[in-house]
């Protein structure tokens, strides 16, 4: 008896992502100088970072769970959510860079938000490399979990707190209003929130597939 039923939330993910694409291109947006139509990137670029942050939060929770109760599955969840988080973060960096080119005039400036995002990315790449450098399964999982425990607060503070304390070109930092000013426009929220939910669910889906593959691999090795 094969049971290959697809969970309901996966269909929800598809619905939300497709809705984002269609409504994101079709609905009215505020008319703002410089941004013009590129304001629609808000529906695609920003959810990448939301997705990354949520996945890294899940990752650190699994790391804590592993330290409390050392089961291999907790470690798999921790590392795979971090992997998917890095993936979405890289997409966020690239899309942000393209957007910056056509609104700020350059692909990269030494803006606190941008540099912090790049450093945050490196912190997590270091996590993956650190994990990979141990042969022993338990040692790898344990040290990885402890590293993750430190990495997450650093990531949050450099990416969300420090840019707010200094000047930054990026919206939402250093006295620079976030999109809340424009999205007073409830029309944008109607697309933005479903977009965030859709991409977060998509990230969870990717992660779940990779965790299942890891479990299969693990079971075959046993």
């Amino acid at each position: 008896m094969l049971n290959t039923k697809i969970n309901w939330w996966k269909y929800l993910t598809i619905a939300l992502v497709i809705y984002t694409v269609v409504a994101g291109l079709l609905t009215e947006v505020p008319r703002l100088p410089i941004l013009n139509e590129t304001i629609r990137n808000l529906y695609f670029h920003v959810p990448m970072w939301f997705c990354m942050t949520v996945l890294l939060l899940i990752s650190v929770i699994y790391s804590i769970l592993y330290l409390v109760k050392p089961e291999i599955k907790n470690d798999f969840y921790a590392v795979e959510t971090a992997n998917t988080g890095i993936f979405f973060g890289i997409l966020g960096l690239i899309t942000g860079s393209i957007w910056a080119k056509y609104t700020w005039g350059t692909f990269w400036t030494s803006d606190p938000k941008l540099n912090a995002a790049a450093i945050g990315e490196l912190i997590y790449i270091a996590y993956i490399i650190l994990r990979g450098s141990f042969q022993d399964e338990q040692q790898r999982a344990r040290i990885g979990a402890v590293y993750n425990l430190f990495a997450f607060p650093i990531f949050i503070s450099i990416i969300y707190i420090i840019p707010r304390l200094t000047d930054s070109l990026h919206p939402g930092n250093g006295g620079n209003p976030a999109f809340s000013q424009y999205d007073l426009d409830s029309r944008m929220r109607l697309v933005f929130y479903p977009a965030v939910a859709g991409f977060i669910l998509l990230g969870v889906w990717f992660t779940s597939l990779r965790v299942r593959l890891r479990m299969i691999e693990y079971q075959i090795e046993q």
Binding site: I18, L25, N36, W205, Q219
Partner: protein, 73 residues
């Protein structure tokens, strides 16, 4: 009473719509008026849908492998 509310509502709607159109900021209005935007949406929508369906197929395939491993134990 109902008529007054209706009148008031249509007035507010008029104000809001004229406010949003009074700006001179260039947007892709002609592109939308021509209906070409639907071509772009159709293409991107189909691409996303196709990739997500592919993901579902992958998901099912993994489920099958999981089950065959569990039944071999």
């Amino acid at each position: 009473m109902k008529k007054i509310t209706l009148l008031l509502l249509s007035f507010i709607a008029y104000i809001v719509s004229s406010y949003s159109q009074s700006s001179d900021v260039p947007m892709a209005d002609q592109f939308r008026a021509d209906g070409k935007i639907y071509v772009v949406i159709a293409v991107i929508g189909i691409l996303f849908l196709g990739m997500l369906v592919y993901l579902i197929l992958l998901d099912k395939k993994i489920s099958k492998i999981e089950q065959s491993i569990n039944s071999n134990k």
